[in-house]
Amino acid sequence: MADPVQAEAVATNLQLAGAGSFGAIIGWYVYYINRYRRGDVQFSDIVTLVGAIGGSAVLALFPARGDLFGAYGVGLAVGFFGYFIILSGLVAKSRKFNSDWFLDGRRKRLDLDEYIPSDEEVRAQTRPGMGITDDPFKPKVEG
């Protein structure tokens, strides 16, 4: 539970900005995690997300009824809805997608010179394994 003395303390602008920014990052990731979640919806998904949004850990960091809690909440909404607004902007700008994609996932077919990389390909590009043989930074052994 929040400490009322701490909750009533006046927060500085820097603290408010920090709490808001923290909330924005959490909000962005909450949307991201929900968007890329795999498998069937479970009640535990909601519990996990709700815990991240307004669980006891957040209330311990930002006491309820305090300005920091308010700034965190505003930041959370900015991050969460900011993701959706940017996604909507990208969809509106794209030639291959329109608003129907949000409803049933429809999109236009890829052009002949385009493809969507598999998960394995993306992982290999972004996180090379430890045992790679063509490491450009590895010193070459002569002879």
Binding site: V30, N34, V41, I46, V50, I53, G54, Y72, A77
Partner: protein
């Protein structure tokens, strides 16, 4: 309006939107989505009590109602496109 009220309402808005998004992804029967919604509403009410702000619930209800209204409109438009 004070910052903590706006913040609490924003948390409720995010929460309600998240519920609407998750409920839309439920592949099982409708009662499953209803059960999920009721359970989330209970958790939201508990947090509102702990945080001591009913603005969380106001934001939550607004987001769920807005999402339901928007989705109903979008599906109507989609149905029109399919039938034409």
């Amino acid at each position: 309006m004070e910052l903590q009220m706006v913040g609490a309402a924003c948390i409720g808005l995010v929460w309600g939107s998240l519920l609407a998004a998750v409920a839309r992804q439920v592949r099982r029967p409708v009662w499953s989505a209803l059960w999920l919604s009721l359970a989330t509403l209970l958790v939201a009410a508990t947090l509102a009590l702990v945080a001591g702000s009913s603005w969380i619930l106001i934001g939550f209800a607004s987001a769920v109602a807005t999402a339901a209204w928007l989705q109903a409109g979008w599906y109507q438009e989609l149905r029109k496109k399919r039938s034409s």
